[in-house]
Symmetry: C2
Subunit: 410 residues, 2 copies
C-alpha cells in the first residue's frame, strides 16, 4: 500500500497569512466602510520596467514564426541571459563566475526550497530566527528535523536568534552545523550583514566544512557602499557558498517568475565513501532532471534589465520603493516607534511598543488605524515583539499609512 | 561537515542524448556537407497558435500598467486557466474535478519529477521498460531504489516490460507495488492503453492500495474514439490515480512552459500511524512551499487554447504533426520496417531489422541516409532492438526523411 512522506505531518498549517486574512475579513465584515491599507505581504505593485515589456513583446513575436520559434532551451538558462548576469553582477564587481556555475530558474523560492535535495538528510541545519519560512519547511519535509517543540522550534535544527540585542547579526553556533541559511538583505528584518560579519561566517564554514546557502534576493535594494552585494565579495566564499538571486523584487517579476542560483564548482560536500563531490554537479543533475528551463519569453524580459536603459529603469523602480521605505521608517520614528531595516532592504521591522505581542499589535493597527502588517512572531519565536511593514505599496498609500501612524496612541 | 545526497551517485550520466550528439558531431566532422535530418529529440518546431500569441501580447501589456499588473498569483494557478481546463478536459467529458484538485505548474517534467516527494521512501515503485527517464531518475535521487545492476535495471524497482510481444501493454506485476508510473499515450513507444487495459490497472491499484501516476502529456494526439483521454474515464480511477497534463506538445509550449496535475482528494496514502492522508493536501503543501506559481503571461497564453478559435488552432497544430506521423509510419512500412505507434501519439517506435542493436541501427541510419533518431535502448533494456522517430519535424523534412528510408538497404 502506498505510504506518504510522514515528514509533511510535522508541519503546522501555513498559519500566518491565513490568520491575517481571517482577522482582516472579520474586521471588514464588522466595518464594511473601513479603508484598509495593506503593508503586509511582500508583493510588488508597480508595473514591469518598459525594457522588459518591449523585450517580451518581441519574444512573443519570436514564438509566432517557425524561423524564430524557441522550443526546449537549455535547462540552465539561455546564454543571452546568463552571460549578462555574470558580467553585470559578478565580473564587473571583480568576481569570477564560470558559465557553468549559474542556473536560471523560475524563481528563488523554487531554488531555495529545492537546494536541500542535493544534501544528505543527516546534515545539521542552521537558520536564523526570525526567518523566511521556506528554508525551514523544506528541510522539515525532507526529514532533516525532528518534530515541532512547544517553544516553536523544530527538534534538531539550530536556530540563530536575530534581535535588536545582537543588531540582527546572528552569533556563530556553539555546535557544528553543516548547512547555514543566511538571507541578506534580510527578510523579514530588513537588515544586512556587514563585510566583517559575513567574513566571520565564511571562515566558520571553511573551518567546519559547512555550506552557506546565501539568499540575496533583495541585493538590488542595498544603498550603502560598504554592504556586500554578493557573498562572493568575501574572500574564500567561493569554496563554501551557494548564492540565490531573483528578478522578483529587482524588476517586479513576482508574477513573471525568474531567478538564478550560483554554485561555484569549488563548493563540495562529502560522499559516504569520504570523497568530495562538487554540489554544482549534483545540482546540474537535479536541474536537468526535475526542471525544463524557464520560459524563453521570461528570460528575454529578464535579460533586458542589463542594458543601459534597463539598468536605469530598474534603479528607478527600486528607488521608488526605497523612498517608500524611508517615508515609513521616518514616519515610525516620528511616531515614537523603534524601527529597523529599510535602508538596504524594502522591509521595515519595528519593535512593538510596551512589549506588546506582535499579534496584539496587529489587532491594534487594524482596529485603530486600519493598517495591515505582518506579526513578527509569524517568522519565528524571536520575531515575537516585532512587526514587519513593507515598502512595496504605492507612494500614496504609504504616505497615508504614515499619517495614520502619527495618530496611533500607545 | 556537509554531506551530499549519496543517491545521486547511483545515477549514470545522462548518456543518451549526449552520446547521440557525440556521434552526430563526429559524423559531421568527417562529412561536413552531409544534409542531416533530425527526427530524434521530442521537441516541437511549429510556432505557437495565434490565439496564444495574441493572449500573451495582451498579458505583457497588463504587466506594463499598475492597474492591470499581476504580482504573485495563486501557486495553484489562476482560475481563468484552471476553470477552462476543468470544463474542457473533464466536465465536458463527464468527469467531475473540483477547483482545488488541479495544480498548474511550469510543466509536466517538473510535476512528474516532484510528485514522488510526497510519498514515503519505502514505497515500491513500478515503471515500464522502456520508459521516460524522469520517473526513474527522480526515484533514484530520493533513495527509493538500490544501485544500478548489470542488466541495466535498478535494484528494488519493478520493471514492466513493454514489447511487441505484449502489444506494449504491461502485465500486472507479480509482487505488490505502491507507485505505478504509466505514460499514455506512451513516450517512447507511441502506443496507448485501451480502456480494458487501464481498467485492469485501476482495479489492481484499488486492490493493492497503490497509486497510479498517469502521465497524459500526449493526450491531445489521441485520434481514435475508444482510447481514454484521461484515466478518470475509468471507473474508480479517482480513488487511485494522479494525472499529469501538459501544454508542451498540445500547443507547442516546450519553451513556454505550462502544465498541470490533477489530484482528486479521494487519492490517499497511509501515514506511519495508520491513518489515511489525501495526497492532494500534501501536494498543496509542497506546491505552495517549493513553487511560486506559473508566470501570469504564460497562463494567459495557455488559457487562450480553450476558446473556440483556440481549439481550432490547436487541432490544426496537432493534425500537422499527426500527418507527419502517418507519413513516417506508412513510409517505414513501405520500406519493409515494422512500425508501432504514430496513430494516437507523435512517436513512431520501429523494430530494428534483423535484430540489429538499436545503436547499430542508429549508426546505419546516420551513415547511410543521414537521419538521426533515438536508439530504443536509451529508454531501458527492453527498448533494445527498437528505435524512436518523432513527428515533430517540418513536413518537408519528414517527407525527405521517408524518401531516404525507401533507399535503405537491410
Amino acid at each position: 500500500m502506498a505510504t506518504i512522506n510522514d515528514n509533511y505531518l510535522k508541519l503546522p498549517g501555513s498559519y500566518l497569512f491565513a490568520e491575517i486574512a481571517r482577522r482582516v475579513a472579520a474586521y471588514k465584515e464588522a466595518n464594511p466602510d473601513a479603508d484598509i491599507i495593506r503593508l503586509g505581504i511582500g508583493d510588488v505593485t508597480q508595473p514591469l520596467p518598459q525594457v522588459c515589456i518591449e523585450a517580451m513583446h518581441k519574444a512573443v513575436d519570436d514564438q509566432a514564426k517557425a524561423e524564430t520559434f524557441h522550443g526546449y532551451g537549455p535547462e540552465q538558462g539561455y546564454s543571452f541571459l546568463t552571460e549578462a548576469i555574470i558580467k553585470h553582477n559578478y565580473t564587473d564587481r571583480g568576481i569570477e563566475i564560470a558559465p557553468d556555475e549559474i542556473f536560471v530558474s523560475d524563481g528563488s523560492k523554487s531554488d531555495c526550497g529545492n537546494i536541500q535535495e542535493i544534501f544528505g538528510t543527516a546534515n545539521k541545519v542552521a537558520i536564523t530566527d526570525p526567518v523566511y519560512p521556506v528554508y525551514l519547511d523544506t528541510n522539515v519535509m525532507a526529514g532533516r528535523t525532528g518534530t515541532l517543540q512547544d517553544d516553536g522550534h523544530f527538534e534538531g535544527v539550530v536556530y540563530l536568534p536575530c534581535t535588536a540585542e545582537n543588531n540582527f547579526a546572528p552569533d556563530l553556533p556553539k555546535e557544528k552545523v553543516d548547512m547555514i541559511y543566511l538571507c541578506c538583505p534580510n527578510n523579514p528584518t530588513g537588515t544586512t550583514l556587514s563585510r566583517e560579519e559575513l567574513t566571520k561566517w565564511v571562515n566558520y564554514a571553511k573551518e567546519n566544512e559547512s555550506v552557506i546557502l546565501f539568499d540575496a534576493a533583495y541585493a538590488a535594494y542595498i544603498t550603502e557602499d560598504d554592504v556586500p552585494r554578493s557573498i562572493y565579495e568575501i574572500p574564500g566564499a567561493k569554496d563554501v557558498a551557494i548564492e540565490f538571486r531573483s528578478f522578483s523584487k529587482t524588476a517586479g517579476f513576482t508574477g513573471t517568475r525568474c531567478g538564478y542560483t550560483i554554485i561555484p564548482k569549488t563548493v563540495k560536500g562529502r560522499a559516504a565513501d569520504g570523497s568530495l563531490v562538487p554540489f554544482n554537479k549534483l545540482w546540474n543533475r537535479r536541474h536537468t532532471t526535475k526542471f525544463n528551463g524557464t520560459a524563453y519569453i521570461v528570460q528575454r524580459g529578464a535579460a533586458a534589465i542589463y542594458t543601459e536603459e534597463g539598468q536605469k529603469q530598474v534603479k528607478e523602480l527600486v528607488s521608488y520603493y526605497m523612498e517608500n521605505a524611508r517615508i515609513i521608517r521616518e514616519g515610525l520614528k516620528a511616531a515614537g516607534l523603534q524601527a529597523f531595516g529599510g535602508v538596504n532592504a524594502p522591509y521595515i521591522w519595528l519593535k512593538t511598543p510596551n512589549n506588546m505581542s506582535s499579534w496584539d499589535f496587529f489587532d491594534k493597527l487594524l482596529h485603530e488605524v486600519n493598517i495591515v502588517g505582518t506579526p513578527g512572531a509569524g517568522f519565528g519565536p524571536c520575531g515575537e515583539g516585532y512587526f514587519r511593514l513593507t515598502s512595496f505599496g504605492s507612494r500614496e498609500n504609504t504616505k497615508r499609512a504614515v499619517a495614520r501612524f502619527a495618530k496611533l496612541k500607545f
